[in-house]
């Protein structure tokens, strides 16, 4: 048992922290930050900065230009990246691209990797992941998948509607989850400019951190050749799991960084702002909120590290990532909400970055499985007789 961070990883952590502080925080109020994330011009500038700093796509293997970080190393680096809303975009580790790269590297054919993974990992293009559907389709319950893929000669014709498709606007390609005629789910790759793909509209959301925002995308007899099937036919749900457990955990890592930022801003304010004769932090009412933040950040970090370690041992980590996700997303939410409260009026305005983090992070208790679905999954795991204290 060991909680230490190896020296070279500490160096990478320090380098990332300095990059965020020196290069990104000054750009947070750049006018190219839109309600739908940094625009493409800003995104490219950020990507170039990260490439110059040797920090681009660090989770991808060296073959595709990354550093091949394991899950624990990602926990360290991604937390630093999340410290600025611009960090994940700059380092090319934001959702959904980060998870898509992970999935492609695991599952895609060599040709698919060259065509889609290489430019994605280089930050030259963006991608999207088309899974969630409007009612009565697949939402929290993926089993309700309705988008269909019908065999037509050697090709498949995909039809259906998706929404909450993060980054759809501006994406070069999509990974599409669809249901075969036999009911099996399969993933397909398609360029976004293919005939049959339409971005119906952008959805307005509380968060403003994802390039391209969230879109409604429809498929109308989109023709996909067999060689663009991602991995094997009928393995869609299995691949979703391959993608989801680590992708879920990287969300925890990034938002942990964001929560730490909110806490730091609030702490700084609590030291300086006076009320009733002393700094507000010297009032227990505020001090206790800082203490609770500290404990929530600590528990989040430990559970993220633990789950990363489990994944690094080669396990699927389905249970552990559910635990880490619920624990983290709720603890992080409390930290950010308390930070808003400590900042008073400034907390609910864009005088500081905290209001932005607050609006960005609310969705994290919902996406990649709402707390309620994970709690139920954890409960079934317990009831099946699994020891909660097994390692």
């Amino acid at each position: 048992m060991d909680f230490s961070i190896p020296a070279e990883l500490q160096a990478l952590q320090a380098r990332t922290r300095a990059f965020i502080a020196d290069e990104l925080i000054p750009l947070e109020r750049d006018a190219r930050c839109t309600p739908h994330g940094p625009n493409e011009d800003l995104r490219r500038e950020l990507i170039n900065k990260a490439r110059a700093a040797g920090l681009l796509s660090s989770h991808v293997s060296a073959e595709f230009g990354g550093l091949g970080l394991n899950h624990f190393a990602k926990a360290i680096v991604f937390e630093e990246a999340g410290y600025s809303p611009l960090g994940p975009v700059a380092l090319n580790i934001a959702a959904p691209d980060e998870g898509n790269m992970h999935l492609l590297e695991q599952v895609a054919s060599p040709a698919q990797k060259e065509r889609w993974l290489r430019p994605l990992a280089a930050g030259k293009i963006r991608s999207c992941f088309c899974m969630t559907e409007p009612a009565p389709g697949a939402g929290a319950d993926p089993g309700m998948l309705m988008t269909s893929a019908v065999k037509d000669g050697e090709d498949y014709l995909i039809s259906g509607e998706k929404w909450f498709i993060t980054g759809a606007e501006g994406a070069s390609f999509a990974i599409i989850m669809a249901k075969l005629e036999n009911g099996d789910a399969t993933m397909f790759l398609a360029d976004m400019d293919s005939p049959g793909i339409t971005i119906e509209r952008a959805m307005d959301s509380l968060d403003t951190c994802f390039p391209g925002g969230h879109g409604v995308v429809s498929f109308d007899n989109l023709r996909v050749p067999a060689e663009h099937i991602l991995g094997e036919l009928g393995q869609g749900f299995r691949y979703a799991q391959v993608r989801l457990s680590p992708a879920r955990l990287t969300h925890c890592m990034r938002w942990l960084g964001a929560a730490r930022r909110a806490h730091d801003v609030a702490t700084d304010y609590a030291r300086k702002r006076q009320a009733f004769g002393k700094p507000i932090g010297a009032h227990e009412g505020v001090g206790f909120m800082l203490a609770d933040n500290e404990m929530d950040l600590h528990a989040t970090r430990l559970s993220v590290w633990h789950c990363a370690w489990v994944l690094d041992q080669g396990a699927l980590g389905k249970h552990e990532s559910s635990v880490a996700k619920v624990l983290s997303s709720e603890a992080i939410w409390r930290v950010v909400d308390r930070s808003v409260q400590i900042l008073g009026g400034q907390g609910v305005t864009h005088e500081t970055v905290v209001a932005r983090i607050f609006a960005d992070v609310r969705a994290f208790r919902i996406y990649d499985g709402p707390s309620e679905v994970h709690r139920w999954s954890i409960a079934r795991h317990i009831l099946r007789g699994n020891q909660h204290n097994a390692h």
Copy 2:
């Protein structure tokens, strides 16, 4: 002891409810709703609708065009108004105008009433209340007031900076809290186009419900004649109290309506959206959230009614309004947050009105005294030996 609503008040409640449903909810997606509230064109249209419906400025006395509602009647009507983000603006009962009308009616001279209260109550103009200051001035601790009023002949020269001034942009006049040379606080009335008043900038905020948003306002030797002193010299803090207790409670009333709206939208969704083989409301995880909403709405309504009754008995209600404010603002927040969670992805987008309510209501745990300041005030009340069960 009686929890019934008199028949005529029930009729007014029903009329208000129908007005909100028929006239306002269809306008909620009107393009004239800006990040800084309904624009002036929309506001005037809303005011005209309410006037036509006989619902304008119902809290003001008949002399100034209102219905002269007592606090309990306001609890009923304002809750209905809050059901739409447009309701308070339409009925001319939004902050800060509603509280300003209340204060002017209590304290202003006949001439001041004619000049400022009459057009304000008619919805022809808007107003602002200039109290909060940037550090190191008056925030949660009003005693730190720095804006100064220096006697100059028969006039006063006011200098200082204020922020979080809701509705400053577009307001016709301001009530300004300033400190005399002897340290006493005094309120002054001034037209916003007076020389010496500058709106430095608008503040970007999470909420989008207040016309004019929140501004930074500076005073540079603003000259105010003695007849524009509001009430008596040196009574600023006492008048703030006259204004704050009821104004605090009307916030509770309006936001209770907003929370009820969020709950209704979530309930409707919980009935219809299926997951894992049944409507999501039939899952205890969601059903329990609805039950908790019900209890929070119930406790909020009862505490608001209780405090309204205390005020209607002629008491100042300082303690009761602190209790109602903390209890309500925190319960309402939980209701809205749960409603977001029940709605899943839609909860964090503007597919429904709930995300807007969510962003609007966060500040309510902060303004008119953050929870921490009220908790401390409640604690001192208890420690001074007051019976919590006295009526």
Copy 3:
């Protein structure tokens, strides 16, 4: 709408409060207080005191020696009674006798009333209510009732096992819920010394407030003549409802008094005990707990009053009593737990009465329907389309 207490009820409240303070609190450390409640000797002494004070069985009609209080009046008086763990026993308004008297008065035949209600209301005897069964019988789910009543001539033969039978030891008679051969539930009356009734054992419990404690009772062909059927055949569940809604609410009333006592003891301590240079109540960490207590007591009292008013209007109040029960039992629990915390080491010892209240009140979140069952019942009520804001 009116929150005032009529003058004569205020007088009764004051009289009850004085009785508790003067007559009962001095007896709280009497050695006759056993782990299974006040023993019979002490109980009779308490009953005599209350009779002398004119406060005995106040909820029963004058015909049977009570004051015929309505539900609101009970809310006032029972809260006062609950202020001492001895109060409900002394005033003969403790569970299960209080609910049994209520039920008998509503449903029993004149002969049954003379035989069982009259001496019960006079405090001469005690009773028990035999409903809950060990697995796989009726617990939180009353539909799982297994105790059987088989017709035998004009009589019924009852067999089965019950547990958590409060007051069984020492009770003179029982109301027994059993299932007829056709599956319908029926209530029967039987003297506890009848052949066929055995008290198998006492159960050790956290609470020590109920005379006789909680017992396991078995029925082995207990013969009950038809005239001892309580009310009509097959109406067992309906009568359970008649008993449960008000009985549930009187629990809220009594425990509210107990929570107020805990809060008062903690407040007194917070005023006097010094730490880090000032009274501990002057530390926000403690002061905020007192403030939260105040809000929880306030919300509890309001919801109890509201539900009492609903019952006084003649409604069944099933939903309202569920809301009041969950809200009260959880708020009361928080108050008592915080009071323990404020008292520090003394809170977890019997140096004050608070540890006793703490151990007594935990079960209240479980009996008369655990929070989870009520939350689900509230949820279904909402989902069926009931307006939460109907009065």
Copy 4:
């Protein structure tokens, strides 16, 4: 970074677990378990069992008969021990003896070790730690120490009153904190049968796990020779710190085991008990409680391991042990409270061990520093500018 447990430690864990299951759980209902803990006869039997199993006093160095476990190894073994209320007593690792052994081993002179540590580590005698005083003495604020030690020749005369002295009844010796004439705090060793020591009375408490219960002890000119000063004169508070950080953490370890037991009992019940047509665990309302238990146990274990690792690196771990203490004691409390709730009526009776754990564990949020004192200490640590993310 590594969360694995070395093989030999896993073996010790398994051995301890088996010992608890096979030897102690069958004895939990032994009549020799009194309200003031296992009596001396049972205690000796338990000690003998543990000695035979090679598990006695494992935290003490081999020189004094233990296994010399480091903090992490203690985290593993003590959690197992806590699984039964009898575990810590049997393994001779219960408070206050465990902390006293730790302190003596660090600070005592060779002669003191032979006289007091050796028989204590062998389980032949018990000890107590006399620090807490009734008002106006030292409670949560140790600075208020009033017990005095006055120099008299080569000896010291100690006078004062202590309470909440765990294990005083039956202890062979005491460590006594007293204040010198110059105000410095010093620790003294004294046999309990010395003239001048009186156990005034036992305190009745909610917990029943500590042999000897909690006593009130008075010192009246207790004469202590200079060689019985523990360590150096005037170092009392420093030694208290030496004792407290690890002692605080071992509490977390043991109570984690107790909470795991409660959770296991509740899980077992949730699998078997039916209600409304399925096992209660299959109701989300119960399943979610199990999931929350899992997360609380997980966060507790991780924070305990983290703090143990910090201590094993040689750091004082004052901040980390405060974090671990608040986080653990509150999470453990929630786990046990939820387990009671899941068990329904049985949860509040002694039908299972859970009610006993519930009554035992409440005090843990208070002793070794109540949550409020630790939160304030954590807050000051943050405000002083310490990075919460430093390792």
